[in-house]
Symmetry: C2
């Protein structure tokens, strides 16, 4: 390995916001690590490793501006194993196992149920798109450009690139005086295979319109247009578009995300680390917005209503979340993200669900979400039986023969 690998990666600890408690925990951990290293007979000099557990403040106001809070410190890079909640079988064996953390939280921040380490910071990725869409409505941009429910759903989508998605995004861009070239999300082939095959067969260009995030980016462009801001560079953390998103997300999750560990998403926008529990809290506030300001509560309700009315726009044909939402319409909003993240917004229970597969496997996060909804009685036993191929999907071989299943291990109470 090159020098970059030798200089072991360390979590960035933001000094100024680092609380005394976290410092104490860090000293303790450093001591433990040194002992572990000695007992393992490792002759390398004992390195101090810093660990900090920044709990989400459950009482954070969702109304006020983002406040100064302790930074989220990235945790020890060698955290304990989360429970193996999901398994993949093949014939007579379990072939692979996925370790998962699940947080179920109410709007007051109370933990209702959990599996695994829910304080470990994660990136919400595309699963938090419904939260990222708040400024589109709150700014008045959606109404100024007369966006309908389909556009609002698309602003929260990781879509398949089917005509139902791309035709609408293209028309929407025209309405705000933008074009596909203004999208800064990058291009990829449509996720929907028949659409992809047709596009290639027709010799069509693979543009950013097919990017699964093109609706979210159209939403970003809409707020920039509405506020008279330059559209160029709207994906950068410093741009007012992302500043509004960060503010709304901070208020909803109760975490000051301006000081969170940061990275770049697949589509170029910032990703901000937060405890899984805080992500669930933000989703719960959306599910039960009674304590939010009237404007924000209204935005939350409109976003959920739009997604529930147009579940196919959120993903598309054959996709887990779209299919489950369409089949059990009105019961919940589900949104997945890359690297095994999944969000659930459950208005009837006033709960938010946040799921992260340690290894980043989307197949595991989907089945874990299905099982969580079963546990919460939002899917009945009779429905689960009918939907078995969605909730506990078969593993197919190239000849389309079922050779295994992806399913809950039943570990813990899961």
């Amino acid at each position: 390995m090159g020098p970059a690998a030798k200089a072991r990666w360390r979590p960035r600890i933001q000094g100024s916001g680092f609380s005394a408690m976290a410092r104490k925990a860090a000293r303790k951990t450093a001591g433990r690590n040194a002992i572990a290293k000695r007992s393992a007979g490792n002759k390398a000099p004992a390195k101090t490793k810093v660990k900090a557990k920044a709990k989400a403040t459950s009482k954070a106001s969702a109304k006020g501006p983002a406040r100064t809070k302790p930074a989220i410190a990235a945790r020890d890079p060698k955290p304990p194993a989360n429970p193996a909640l999901i398994e993949v079988t093949r014939g007579e064996m379990v072939e692979s196992r996925h370790r998962i953390a699940v947080a179920v939280v109410d709007a007051g921040g109370k933990l209702v149920e959990s599996w695994g380490d829910i304080e470990r910071p994660i990136y919400g990725r595309s699963a938090v798109k419904p939260l990222q869409a708040l400024p589109l409505l709150e700014s008045g941009a959606a109404d100024a450009f007369a966006l309908g429910e389909p556009e609002i759903a698309l602003a929260c989508a990781s879509h398949n690139g089917e005509p139902q998605h791309t035709d609408r995004v293209r028309h929407w861009l025209g309405r705000i005086g933008c074009e596909v070239a203004d999208l800064e999300c990058g291009a990829h082939l449509p996720l929907h295979e028949p659409t992809m095959l047709q596009l290639i067969a027709n010799g069509g260009d693979v543009t950013a319109i097919y990017n699964n995030c093109s609706g979210k980016h159209a939403g970003f462009l809409t707020t920039a247009r509405h506020e008279g801001e330059p559209t160029r560079g709207y994906i950068r953390f410093e741009h007012p578009v992302q500043q509004r998103v960060t503010k709304a997300m901070s208020e909803m999750t109760g975490v000051d995300l301006t000081r969170a560990p940061r990275g770049i998403d697949g589509c170029g926008i910032p990703v901000l680390g937060m405890p899984l529990r805080a992500m669930a809290h933000g989703l719960a506030r959306m599910a039960d917005p009674r304590k939010l300001s009237a404007d924000r509560a209204n935005a939350c309700k409109r976003i959920l209503a739009a997604i529930m009315a147009w579940p196919a726009l959120l993903g598309g044909t054959g996709r887990f979340g779209s299919t489950l939402m369409a089949t059990l319409r009105g019961r919940f909003v589900l949104k997945g993200g890359a690297e095994g993240v999944y969000a659930g917004i459950l208005p009837s229970l006033g709960l938010g669900v946040a799921i992260k597969a340690d290894d980043g496997a989307g197949r595991a996060a989907e089945v874990a979400m299905a099982q969580t909804l079963r546990r919460l009685k939002l899917i009945s036993t009779a429905e689960a039986k009918q939907l078995a191929d969605l909730l506990m999907p078969p593993v197919l071989n190239r000849a389309h023969l079922e050779v295994g299943r992806i399913r809950s291990t039943g570990e813990g109470r899961f």
Copy 2:
């Protein structure tokens, strides 16, 4: 969940071969589980779970016929966590982590180095193709049909479906009087994106020739032709083609695979469960075949020579194994498989390496193999620096910006 899920999956324990030791271990585990369930306050009746650890017999003769041995019992479905050897970073955080087991074994079956639980049974998937190719040479079929090194390499390949692969397999099929329709591996789009785009743009049919396993299947058909056996159904466990493969694999790994847990591979052939350690032992015997029969040793040498001479045929353009073998030519044979399995055959050290990512992630298995080769000094520090993007690959976003890395965590001595 439906009734299928309620009736919890259990590993099949083959009664007749179940040793007294394994039974004792099973009783112990059942007791432990009952206690754990009680202390967790779970009110479900305590179920007994059966666990058996079937060690690979390291002294198994590679010459004799498959002998009667204790069956491999699938282990407790809730095994302990393997070490998190590989991490995926994004910006300032580790976003995902992969738990891995690695076995490094010599031809005598001696464990040289290991990480994680190497006795847990795994399916070798496509990583054991070099072992599965033994009957093609030993039967005399390869010589009878005048196969060259390219065909032998293709028999061990999980190829990209590029013209260099498919043209050769098509020609080979013609030589044995077969056609593409005789391949029972199923069809999928070529893995190599430019080839896929061209195929679709030209309106070509997606046939089994593009299946990454079409070379292996051509090899199977070749042995059936040579022996005058029906080709139809050659993928079935009971067919003489697969019986020969099972026999050779049993002899090489030291495990009676006729009694192993069984499943079906992506390409339709049987997969047979064996401890990771046994898989490494089989690969080590290939790396150092001095104690094998002259015929088998010769077959091993020819297979390794063919792969080393034609690394691009084993995978293809841009693939990890092909690229690393081509860059450091002659140093090792590497072969990956689905669900995070990787095989290394190291002739200069006389060692076999078997890797399994618990979660089935190929990205993790590749980086773990790279790191194992570094640990074994088969890749120097200077070479690792030059090959950093292969050994510790960047995570790219849709705009091709580097946003993270996949790399070793440095846990344990890894």
